[in-house]
Amino acid sequence: MSGEPILSVDRLTMRFGGIVAVQDLSFAAERKKITALIGPNGAGKTTVFNCITGFYKPSGGSIRLAHDDGKVIALERLNDFRIAKQAKVARTFQNIRLFPGMTALENLMVAQHNALMRASGLTFLGLIGVPSYRTAEKRAIELATEWLKRVNLLDRADDAAGNFAYGDQRRLEIARAMCTEPALLCLDEPAAGLNARESAGLSELLLSIRNELGTSILLIEHDMSVVMEISDHIVVMDHGLKIAQGTPREVRDDPKVIAAYLGTDEEEAAAVMESGS
């Protein structure tokens, strides 16, 4: 481990009524690395995500985010939208949540809302059309264009997002999250529903985000070929508890992990072992 982690989750607990979805979970995500959160269905992965991104308020524990400038933010104390705005944590959703009636470009413009709001002087300056806002808007369009290029959707910039094919929507959602210029990108099953070729493209995209932009990534994923290929660090959960962590190799050989998958779903266990070898 080099340097201080960007995200440290410490003894995170989330209860829904009497059900404990996540219990005393501690892990860290390193800066400029890809950390994967895996585990069988119902292990509590998405709950962890929702706690990190502020959609749930954790019942206990702490979540710390350390920015590059050394500022440390307690995420469990921030409200939902402030986590994206101030802590710079962006996320995607398991069941894609684009703005279907808006074009791809508009989706990416909405992602730059806070920067553009500042530039438009909380709308008032923008309304009278000051030049500084126009430059800001031009820059925003440039950033959006760059991301459309990266995810290979430039030619469809002016089409409604709702018309996109599934794989394209997934990539657009990642591009939208990246347009918020996040410090930490959280992806909830980005490879779900993608075919093999698209999965490979996704891996490439995520690696380029890490390598070229240095954005830290935390992802939940079931597709082990993606997880094993791109992750620097893997955290394995089952029944709300962390059962293992380590490099892809360490995790793959961990008997507890195999047992967890075997105990729930043979196919998934087979997938873990197969894709890892």
């Binding site: 998405t46 929702n50 959609f55 959703f93």
Partner: protein, 305 residues
């Protein structure tokens, strides 16, 4: 204290009427997810039909009041239910899978139609009837001469409401129709796949809601001794407020909300000012929703992320 007790009785009676109308709102909302703005006018139509049936029966020379009441109840329930059925068929069914606002505007349009229809058909003037059910009981007489009255009409309204609620609860929880209704409420597509006739179930929901509104209309007629073409709007909004207050979609909630609105209105009129009774009812709705965004008995909305 005596004054309070008297107002409590009055409030419960008014609340029962609101509750009966509110059930119609909440049922329709639960099953098709729309605000049936015409429901208040269905209540008004029910009142009118009851009034006309009364007139006919009396002019036919009937004198046995229980018989008259029974016939009036059945006739107004039947015809009003047919109104409910027809309206669903004409104005809502074609829009069932449409956008959310389309059926609502259609319902507002239907409400205008019904209000204006009865204005044209029966004239704009208030229609009074002589009191049918007279007498009552003096529950308590205090030293300063204040009496707590419980009139026979009040007893009748409350008893009818309780009886209808019993039948209705049985219908929803024990019968095939009730099971179909609950199934449609959960998932119409799945219910249809499992052999539930969704169209018929929804029609029946409107029919039952309208029949209950007709009973409320009859009660209103007996209790206040008059009907007019515009009474559906205010009563409808109040009842809808009651349904939301109780938690829309919840049947016990509708009744509870109805009672709450009835009591708030009565007590506010009694202790503060009559003019602001509706303001009080609406304000309390807003306050309750601020603290309990899904009403008193509504299921908290779980946000799926």
């Amino acid at each position: 204290m005596d004054y309070f007790a008297q107002q409590l009785i009055n409030g419960l009676v008014l609340g029962s009427i609101y509750g009966l109308i509110a059930i119609g709102y909440t049922m329709v909302y639960g099953i098709v997810g729309m605000i049936n703005f015409a429901h208040g006018d269905i209540f008004m139509i029910g009142g009118f039909i009851a009034l006309i049936t009364f007139l006919i029966l009396i002019s036919l020379g009937l004198t046995a009041i229980p018989v008259i009441l029974l016939v009036v109840l059945l006739v107004s329930m039947a015809i009003t239910a047919l109104y409910g059925w027809t309206i669903e068929r004409i104005a809502y069914r074609p829009l069932r899978h449409s956008f959310r606002l389309a059926p609502m505007l259609s319902a507002i349009g239907m409400s205008f139609v019904l209000t204006n229809y009865s204005q044209v058909a029966q004239g704009a003037r208030v229609k009074p009837i002589p009191p049918f059910i007279i007498g009552g009981y003096t529950l308590h007489e205090s030293a300063d001469g204040f009496v707590i009255q419980l009139s026979n009409i009040q007893i009748m309204v409350v008893l009818t409401t309780i009886a209808l609620l019993g039948i209705f609860t049985w219908l929803v929880s024990r019968t095939r129709l009730g099971r179909d209704m609950r199934a449609c409420e959960q998932d119409q597509t799945m219910a249809a796949l499992l052999g539930v006739d969704v169209d018929r179930t929804i029609s029946m929901t409107f029919v039952i809601g309208a029949a209950l509104a007709a009973v409320a209309g009859l009660m209103y007629l007996l209790y206040y001794g008059l009907v007019d073409f515009f009474m559906g709007f205010v009563a409808g909004i109040k009842a809808f407020t009651a349904a939301v207050l109780g938690g829309i979609g919840s049947l016990p909630g509708a009744m509870l909300g109805g009672l709450a609105i009835g009591l708030i209105e009565t007590f506010w009129s009694a202790y503060f000012s009559v003019e602001y009774k509706d303001v009080a009812a609406f304000s309390i709705l807003i306050v309750v929703l601020i603290f309990m965004p899904t009403g008193l008995l509504g299921r908290p909305e779980v946000e799926k992320v």
